[in-house]
Symmetry: C2
Subunit: 527 residues, 2 copies
């Protein structure tokens, strides 16, 4: 066997750009399979449009068009009425992975990585050799251009830049040609994705023109923009030493004590005094830049021993209990629906999150199977539908771990039941770059379970009622059979009319079994 030295081997050493990495591993961004790839493109653009409109305070109007250019090749257009993107940033926003306005802010938004739109450009390039075309109208300029990525440098290449006439509106339009794609009317297709998006974003008008030219319009059912979430600060109960050290490094506060008040939520001067009593050996009146890791660790541990107010809720934007109920009733037309909105919790990292959940039963609830409707889980994170990678998701894990038989559901997979879960957080811990599954953090799984079980208890009461009624109904039928027979026989013996006897028998029964005849009195005449 030939021996190779370290110097021989390391002749091959190179550094690579994040674009090179994702060019080679585009499946990690969600570009795996033709149907999924097309849905991913639409998902990335629509998500950005919704975020941009909401941040600008505009009611979203989103138009999506998909044309089949040749087999497996689709021209996708996504147009919104958002604030547009300034020309200075258009290149980096659409063609430089890990650039954006969202990654570094402690603010709940759908996008949080600065990967999505540039990922689309990369996918267009990989499959058709071309980047995307964009038309942007901001309040101060209007222009169009082509944008592509210089993959080796992860830098944008802008060509055919042209200023255009303003039309009095702002907005962004992106047109891209994507290969290795397929339009399909399935559970994982674009239409279903937009349907679910509309479900939880009632303030948006969304139109899809599909490859057959058919228009699907999801009309806005609310003219009120959701309350804009506030930028927030980490909660002291969940912050890690690493976070604290990072914040201390960035801080311009003079003392550690003031730094803590300014950088964390719910920290007051009184709380600082409590903290000082817990860790008297640490000098909180020195500069945060002098904080050592060991001191940071001690502070974090001490923070956990103090009682804190729960995190602020105005940092999160929820769908809302009423809205969920309205949307589910409209779309699934279930016999029964129960919804809940839990109080904010904190998970590792001091990050507040809120779980909303709903259970719908009967009607069009559940997934259509061959012979019946079976249990279905509708997963959302920050109001974005998650259609893929369901298996390794905290939401799936939580719903599957529930003992459904306790709630009157013998087999979840075989009953007409839909469970909706939405997690809202400044930072959702996705398990992959493609953001299709929530990492299985224990605190999150537990909270989802509690939320779903809350709804499940309502469902159980409903199902018990149904069962009780059906038991009563069968009792009623049995009794009526005897009443009929008895009336016949008594009538034959006493020669009193059958109807008279029957009427009396029923009135005797009514006294003893009140409620039994209330709804069914009409039926008695037919028997």
């Amino acid at each position: 066997m030939e021996q190779k030295s370290a110097n021989d081997i390391f002749k091959e050493f190179k550094s690579h750009s994040i674009s090179e990495f994702f060019k080679r591993n585009s499946q990690m961004l969600g570009y795996a399979g033709r149907v999924r790839s097309l849905t991913t493109v639409v998902h990335e653009y629509v998500t950005n449009s919704l975020d941009a409109c909401e941040e600008a305070g505009i009611l979203p109007e989103i138009f999506v068009e998909i044309k089949e250019v040749e087999e497996s090749k689709h021209l996708v257009t996504v147009r919104d009425n958002g604030p547009g993107i300034p020309s200075q940033f258009i290149g980096k926003a659409l063609a430089s992975i890990l650039s954006g306005t969202k990654f570094h802010r402690y603010l709940q938004q759908r996008g949080q990585q600065g990967i999505g739109a540039s990922g689309c450009t990369l996918f267009a390039q990989i499959t058709t050799g071309k980047g995307v075309h964009v038309v942007s109208r901001t309040s101060s300029e209007s222009f169009e251009c082509d944008v592509a990525i210089d993959v080796n440098k992860n830098e944008p290449i802008i060509t055919n830049f042209k200023n255009i006439e303003g039309n009095g509106f702002t907005g962004l339009e992106i047109i891209g040609l994507f290969g290795e794609t397929k339009y399909e009317n399935s559970e994982r297709g674009v239409l279903e994705y937009l349907k679910r998006t509309a479900l939880v974003n009632p303030h948006a008008n969304i139109t899809l023109k599909d490859p057959d030219g058919k228009e699907h319009v999801f009309v806005r059912t609310s003219n009120i923009l959701p309350e804009r979430p506030k930028e927030s600060k980490p909660h002291p109960l969940g912050i890690t030493t690493s976070d604290l050290m990072y914040l201390a490094e960035l801080s311009s506060s003079r003392y550690i004590s003031t730094f803590l008040v300014e950088s964390l939520s719910r920290v007051t001067k009184q709380k600082i005094d409590e903290l000082k009593n817990l860790i008297p050996d640490i000098d909180l009146e020195k500069s945060p830049h002098e904080l050592t890791w060991e001191e940071g660790e001690k502070i974090v541990r001490a923070l956990k021993k103090i009682k804190w107010m729960a995190p602020e809720t105005d940092t999160l934007s929820l769908i809302g209990k009423e809205q969920i109920e309205k949307a589910i009733s409209a779309i699934l037309m279930p016999e029964f629906v129960s919804t809940t909105q839990r109080r904010p919790r904190v998970y590792m990292g001091g990050i507040p999150f809120v779980v909303e959940a709903a259970i719908a039963y009967g009607g069009k609830a559940g997934k259509e199977r061959e012979e019946f409707r079976g249990g279905e889980i509708l997963r959302f994170a920050n109001k974005v539908p998650l259609l893929f990678d369901s298996a390794n998701c905290a939401i799936t894990e939580a719903v599957k771990s529930i003992d459904w038989s306790r709630y009157g559901i013998k087999n979840f997979d075989e009953e007409p039941v839909s469970v909706l879960v939405n997690i809202s957080s400044v930072y959702v811990p996705y398990s992959g770059v493609g953001k299709q599954a929530v990492a299985e953090e224990e605190e999150i799984i537990d909270e989802i379970k509690l939320a779903v079980m809350e709804c499940a208890r309502d469902l159980q009461r409903y199902l018990n009622g149904v069962k009780r009624r059906s038991v009563q109904e069968s009792k009623y039928k049995t009794i009526m059979r005897y009443v009929n027979q008895l009336s016949d026989d008594l009538s034959a013996i006493t020669r009193v009319s059958k109807d008279e006897i029957k009427e009396k028998l029923i009135s005797i029964l009514k006294e003893h079994y009140s409620g039994l005849f209330e709804e069914e009195t009409n039926e008695t005449k037919d028997n």
Copy 2:
């Protein structure tokens, strides 16, 4: 509602480093949950050690030590006898994400991203505030130093660098303190990971010293280094236009025709002539740098119409049929084992891959459940055990999609059966950065299914045999009851001794039911 313009919003625009991204999303690298985090650290270092030893032509000796320093905090040491890392590269190799010797080479190795070791350094920093310590001995230098990542720049910070005395050997030792970790003797723990690693790497000596100080030694069972895989070229049958354009851009060939011969495998001058006949309008005698995307697309399409030899097999390093059987027999001690090694296939991207599979039944096969042993899937990619994210993996998908009842397994989850699958490829399409699951590419799933079904047919024959034997056995017992009774009765009537009659009856039966008495003749005396 306050309105915000694009210029307001884009004041927040920033670019971020890949280190910042993974610092925030360390769960995507496999750092989710304490047990998994510790296994991930060991996995990354051991994988690199095996790759380095094999590339240098050295039989691997790997020593892993885990010490619990305080609750949830472990000091991990991994030491190997590999070629070491030159001081010039030590920083980037251990503290710059997306740097390495592997990403850009068309060569089968365990690592393929240049993320693993730097990910460990990042995780150490996030959880303990410190990077890692390294001792490296190459054939030309020996030194030690501390390495950390400048997260904002994704660049290494080297401190305490010190040249040390050589000891006549080469090797690398990394020592790191990792918080948020837990040592557990479970299916997902370090010990199980190393056990499975040893299972498919019989040429490696692996020692684990666990937190209790107990040493677990997996002794090498083969002194032969696996044949080193050759660097290969993409196969024309699977190459994408994007790949072709990329190769053309890099090419220094004078003509497209010679470029194709030089850059793709199996392309000869004769094949170029065939290609020219298929696309007469494209000039293959111009420079590859002049190739347009449209021409590239046509070439790729034409390449698919030509008959090609299968990809070379010497570019892949397999476990080997015999080795799998030996290892499984030693560790699972099953009643039955069947293994198969399929021929190389190509999947999207012209990338050859080979599937090896085995089924073991009985003994310690299957996973231990409460009351019985149930079906278990042992997943490997390039001889690396995959312990996590099993749900969304091509291997799981393939095994679960098999109709096991056709092979005598009524319920896979309730039978003592282990299915082992190893995928070898120059490029394994992992579904996530943490490389714990293979993306569900159809060509790969199909091939795995075929491999497993091949073994399953053997299993079926075996189980049929078992069944036949058990049916025969019960027939035998029934007959023997009658033989006993009949001998008694006949003896009473004829006064011939019972034993004599019985002997004769048995010899009559033997003539008619040969095989039935072969193994059981001893038993007849007892009956």
